[in-house]
Amino acid sequence: MSTVDTAGRKAPRKPKPPPAARGISPLRVLGKVIVWLFTAFNVFVLYWLISASFKTPVEIFTQPFQLPRQWFVLGKPFRNFVYAWSQAGFGEAFLTTVLLVGASAIVTVAIAAPAAYALTRLGVRGSGPMTNFFAIGMGVPFQTVIIPLFVGMAKLNLTNSLIGLFLVYVALSLPFTVFLLTGFFRSLPDEMEEAAAIDGASPFRTFTSIMLPLARGGLITALTLNAIGLWNETLLSIVFLQDNAKFTLARALFTFYGAASYQSEYGGLIAGVTIVVLPMLVLYIVLARRIITGLTLGAGK
């Protein structure tokens, strides 16, 4: 054995990339340019939205790209948000939406997870066609069934009701969630279940103690995607909710849009949009890392 003499040697600041990655190909440059343009555009829109939510209507139109000033000079920087929150009923709508979206997303995953597990793992006869049946559900745009859906719900006295909208949300979210989770459960190793069977766990115990924790990444992904989708859902809430007190954020924003543009209250309107957009952005930023680590969680050797 000889010790390596490191004196007088310096590690490169940036290790050399593998030969294939070196050199500039036009396609790579083009790809980078497109990706960066796309990113820059999105960041710009976000900047415009957030800065405009602190501006007066005059500022929004005359100085669209500058930083906000006038409300800060007047000492009321959050005036637009206060306006949107209290005047437009966003406060109430926010609570309604959090509860409705939270309950819908959780119940959807709570139903879809056992279904996906049973469809992929229990070897039930006809599980293939049944999985496909769920997948077909994804292919039906809900806009096409909205009228019969409304008529049906009206007969059940479930229109203009948050419970009714909750049921519709869960039902319409199930196909995608089941599909997502079947793919996830299918990728889990068989040995886990076999080990659990030999350890004496019942199928239910195996599901709750072994498979669900292993599928955590998939469950969080399903929860997040459903929450974002339902949070932004507007059409169904417009159709099903008529009562101001039951409005969701997207629905309230739609009403507020009419009122605010009539009163030229564009600052308040944009603050309203920000209130709708920001929570999901934050949710995604917080959970993105967990989603990714969850998806790559290894169970084997």
């Binding site: 080990a195 030999i198 350890d199 766990a201 050797k301």
Partner: protein, 336 residues
């Protein structure tokens, strides 16, 4: 503690007409370490999985002790299994992994902790009890998988290639540890491997399978000294036995079964050969020799540091007791 017996056990896989395991009859003594060995696809893992209850039995029966377990689910068979990739629960700590069966069996917490600690002590796992499997080395994971099996004190251990994910050096160490642990615990063990060295070194008896049928089941010495047919002769022993077709017979001579002579023409019965490759292992030397009569080179073992070199012409004479004879048509061993 219990015996294990397969009685005409047969397993078909969907869409394949040929059974994966065909009418297997095998008796395993109480406390015995039996190794199932064979090339991949020979049915050894299927056999083990039938015993564990992870695979159905299409015909025949499997007995543990005097119980017919053919149709019992795994949990009622009183067996423990070590999987090839260990199948540790990644979200549980080592202690939880080892104690999962006890937890399901509603063993009181204090009792459970004591049993887990006992198993951990046996396997030198005490410092790692609070870690998750992802934070362990391959060898440690393998020991956790063992711990999960021994904490149950089952009637039978099933081990499905538990060493194949370890590096060569660790594999040799662990091999000895498992064998000595099994002897200490005295639990009947069925061990599957494709590695004939593992089979020979660990098993009380070794069952050789090929294409779903049992070729021979005997002690390592018995297999080596009296292989029942050409397949076993070629499979057991490393390097493999030289098999020389001679009309209706096949002559089998192990690499160490040759006498080497330099006087090729003056020795009656000597096979004239030219050394093509010399493998020097230090303790032994293997010569791979080309002969005019045979396509396959002949393997010859000589003491390490022997003077032979590539290109040497030598004569090979089988030692009197080292010649095995087989029927060329059936492959069966001929008496004598």
């Amino acid at each position: 503690m219990a015996t294990v017996s397969f009685k005409g056990a047969t397993r078909y896989y969907a869409g394949v007409d040929k059974p994966a395991v065909d009418r297997l009859d095998l008796e395993v003594e109480d406390g015995e370490f039996l190794v199932l060995v064979g090339p991949s696809g020979c049915g050894k893992s299927t056999t083990l999985r039938m015993l564990a209850g992870l695979e159905g039995v299409d015909e025949g029966q499997v007995h543990i002790g005097d119980r017919d377990v053919t149709d019992l689910p795994p949990k009622d068979r009183d067996i423990a299994m070590v999987f090839q990739n260990y199948a540790l629960y990644p979200h549980m700590t080592v202690a939880e992994n080892i104690g999962f069966h006890l937890k399901i069996g509603k063993v009181p917490k204090a009792e459970r902790a004591r049993m887990v600690a006992e198993a951990a002590e046996l396997l030198d796992l005490e410092p790692y009890l609070d870690r998750k499997p992802a934070k362990l080395s391959g060898g440690q994971r393998q020991r956790v998988a063992m711990g999960r099996a021994i904490v149950r004190r089952p009637q039978v251990f099933c081990m499905d290639e538990p060493l194949s994910n370890l590096d060569a050096k660790l594999r040799v160490q662990t091999r000895t540890q498992i064998a000595s642990l099994q002897r200490r615990l005295g639990v009947t063990t069925i061990y599957v491997t494709h590695d004939q060295v593992e089979a020979m070194t660990m098993g009380d008896r070794v069952a050789v399978l090929k294409d779903g049928t049992l070729q021979q089941c005997d002690t390592p010495v018995g297999l080596f000294a009296k292989p029942a047919n050409l397949f076993v002769a070629g499979f057991i022993g490393s390097p493999a036995m030289n098999l020389l077709p001679q009309g209706e017979h096949v002559l089998g001579v192990r690499p160490e079964g040759w006498r080497i002579t330099e006087d090729v023409d003056g020795t009656p019965g000597a096979i004239s050969a030219t050394v093509e490759v010399v493998e020097e292992l230090g303790s032994d030397q293997y010569l791979y020799c080309a002969t005019p009569e045979h396509e396959q080179p002949l393997t010859v073992r000589t003491p390490g540091m022997a003077p032979w070199q590539r290109g040497d012409r030598i004569g090979l004479v089988p030692l009197p007791d080292a010649a095995h004879r087989f029927d060329a048509a059936t492959g069966e061993r001929l008496p004598g």
